[in-house]
């Protein structure tokens, strides 16, 4: 009897949670102004602009204004907010989130999916530059509009040539035990162990015989060798030239990425205002 009630209870709690998520995402609004800095008209104008970006570039855009980041850093909060609330377009949840962290007076742009590649480190730095001056003047609507305009500009330009991702250390704490577990599952560890043990066995097996320790001098009479004739005649010469390859690696633009607590890969950057 208790069991049945328990099961029912679990199902009930489950539904409640689902519904709550639905409620949040139902009224999913891409502009989350917890401090009411923006008027309702401004909010809907931004929402409209965001819808347009979503349609044109398949990128989700979120603007969050808050002074409570639940003790997380701006980067962590921005990433988690994006992941936990189910933002994003497509299977890789492409999109950007701009967090205006009033507690730290910091702005952070988090990129996800396709946006990571489009919005490279240098582009993010420029976007941050653009929004910092309106933000420091308290002009939040203007900052948001600049943000959306920049997304359009870069969205039009697409992924720059030679763009590559740079893996950053994940910021969530990986314990020693996690690493051990990961290595235990690693195919390479088995391969390396197999190779080393194989080579060691082969080496020990082959070393069982003796070796010849005499050489061409052993039986040669001391001082008996006479070089009676020696000639080195020049025949011909050739010269080849090859172009020196210049290193092209530095020319590309990079997108730094890291993993958030949910394991999703994010890019982005930020600055103080």
């Amino acid at each position: 009897m208790f069991k049945k009630i328990n099961v029912l209870l679990i199902i009930f709690i489950f539904f409640i949670t689902i519904c709550q998520v639905n409620i949040i995402s139902g009224e999913l609004n891409n502009v989350k102004d917890y401090l009411d800095y923006l008027t309702d008209e401004e909010e809907s104008a931004l929402q409209e602009a965001i819808e347009a970006v979503k349609n044109d570039y398949n990128l989700d855009v979120v603007i969050v204004i808050t002074d409570d980041t639940e003790g997380k850093s701006s980067m962590e909060f921005a990433d988690d907010y994006y992941d936990d609330n189910g933002y994003g377009v497509g299977s890789d949840a492409s999109g950007l989130l701009m967090l205006i962290n009033m507690d730290q007076r910091e702005v952070w742009i988090s990129t996800t999916g396709k946006a990571i590649d489009i919005f490279t480190d240098s582009r993010i730095a420029e976007m941050i530059d653009h929004v910092i001056s309106p933000l420091s003047e308290g002009n939040y609507f203007e900052a948001s509009n600049t943000f959306i305009d920049d997304i359009k500009t870069y969205g039009e330009m697409g992924v720059p040539q030679g763009q590559f991702r740079v893996e950053n250390e994940p910021y969530y704490k990986v314990t020693y035990f996690d690493k051990v577990l990961r290595l235990m599952k690693s195919f390479y560890v088995y391969l390396i162990a197999l190779m080393i043990s194989g080579i060691a066995t082969l080496f020990v097996s082959l070393s069982s015989k003796g070796s010849v320790t005499i050489d061409n001098h052993t039986y040669e009479g001391k001082g008996s060798f006479v070089l009676s004739s020696s000639r080195d005649d020049f025949l011909r010469e050739t010269t080849t030239k090859t172009r020196i390859q210049t290193d092209s690696g530095s020319g590309g633009s990079s997108s730094s990425v890291h993993s958030s607590s949910s394991g999703t890969t994010h890019g982005g950057g930020g600055g103080k205002f």
Binding site: Y176, K179, V180, R182, L183, M184, V189, Y190, I192, A193, L194, I196, S197, G198, A200, T201, V204, S205, S208, K209, G210, S211, V212, T213, I214, D215, N216, H217, T218, Y219, E220, G221, S224, F225, V226, L227, S228, S229, S230, R231, D232, D233, F234, L235, R236, E237, T238, T239, T240, K241, T242, R243, I244, T246
Partner: protein, 343 residues
């Protein structure tokens, strides 16, 4: 004249044996010791071996009279019944009279110790090879060798290259100069040993070289006392072929060493001719242990003068797998638990 020779102690009449440690002759029964001079005065008539003696159907121990059991090439051995050493004189006479020999320097005990050390390092060797009774089977043998002296005259010719690289602007230049290289030289080769016994594996006999020829002394049967000995069954003419190939290579290598200052050298032509070939018949000391394992012979040889070791042991599959398994586990544990500090 006796066909079998045994050296007797002048104090008690027991058998005398050559002792490598003291380089003297020792009596096993009364512990008397005789040096080379004493033993020569004791048996003043070192029998003449110049004349060939007829090969007999059977030989008998000088001590107990029992028939000696020996291969047709065995020239010094022990009586199976009384352990008295016996030297079959006919097999050291005539064309089988060795010119010289190197006496044993390593004692049987030392050879056993060397074997123990060696076999313990062979972790894949089956357990049977490490038994005490197996180790005691190690035998000191005077092995027949042909020592060749000869003169060699040889030439090599080939192509050598010298390369130089430099950079200029955006280009890297590589200049290669080609030379025709010619070298001719001659050298004398002294006492190149070639195994003269078919019974002993040529490859291993080659590997126990070199011997230090400073200890080479004129042959005398008294050194055979206490050891086994074999007479040659590889004729000098046959052994000469082996020697020629070896010396040819030595001279070629010697000439190549004079080709300096090239980044690469390829030999196109080589020729070596040997002259003044003279051979000496010599007895060189080895300790031999012949193990049979699953129908195959496995040889262990110690150079009786220098102590150099060669040999081969069978590989026990199960030991091999166990070893590999242990290494695998150790490497795996180190990489997982140690590697976790670095990833």
């Amino acid at each position: 004249m006796d066909s079998v020779k045994g050296y007797k102690c002048k104090n008690c009449g027991g058998g005398l044996e050559f002792d490598p440690a003291s380089q003297k002759w020792k009596c096993d029964y009364c512990f008397s010791e005789f040096d080379k001079h004493e033993i020569e005065t004791e048996t003043p008539l070192e029998d003449s071996l110049e004349e060939s003696m007829p090969e007999l159907d059977s030989y008998h121990c000088t001590s107990c009279g029992a028939e000696l059991i020996a291969d047709s090439t065995t020239s010094a051995t022990f009586c199976l019944y009384c352990r008295n050493h016996s030297i079959i004189k006919s097999r050291f006479s005539g064309k089988f009279k060795p010119k010289n020999l190197i006496p044993f320097k390593i004692t049987k005990e030392q050879a056993e110790e060397i074997y123990k050390k060696w076999i313990n390092k062979r972790i894949f060797a089956p357990k049977e090879f490490k038994k005490k009774e197996e180790i005691e089977k190690i035998t000191g043998i005077y092995a027949p060798f042909w020592l060749f002296n000869c003169k060699g005259d040889g030439m090599i010719s080939g192509e050598g290259t010298r390369t130089r690289t430099w950079t200029s602007g955006n280009y890297k230049y590589t200049q290669t100069k080609y030379y025709k290289v010619f070298r001719r030289g001659n050298a004398e080769y002294q006492k190149v040993p070639v195994d003269a016994s078919k019974k002993l594996d040529d490859k291993f006999m080659h590997m126990i070289e070199p011997y230090n020829y400073n200890d080479l002394t004129d042959f005398s049967m008294k050194y055979m006392s206490g050891f086994m000995a074999e007479k040659y069954d590889v004729e000098a003419s046959e052994a000469e072929g082996v020697m020629k190939a070896r010396v040819g290579k030595y001279l070629e290598q010697r000439l190549k060493e004079t080709v300096n200052g090239y980044s690469s050298f390829v030999t196109h032509e080589k020729k070596v001719s040997l002259s003044d070939i003279r051979e000496e018949y010599s007895m060189l000391p080895i300790y031999l242990l012949n193990n049979k394992y699953k129908g195959k012979d496995h040889i262990f040889i110690v150079n009786g003068q220098t102590g150099k070791v060669v040999g081969d042991t069978p590989i026990s599959r199960s030991r091999q797998f166990a070893f590999m398994g242990i290494v695998f586990v150790i490497v795996w544990v180190i990489s997982v638990f140690g590697g976790a500090f670095f990833v």
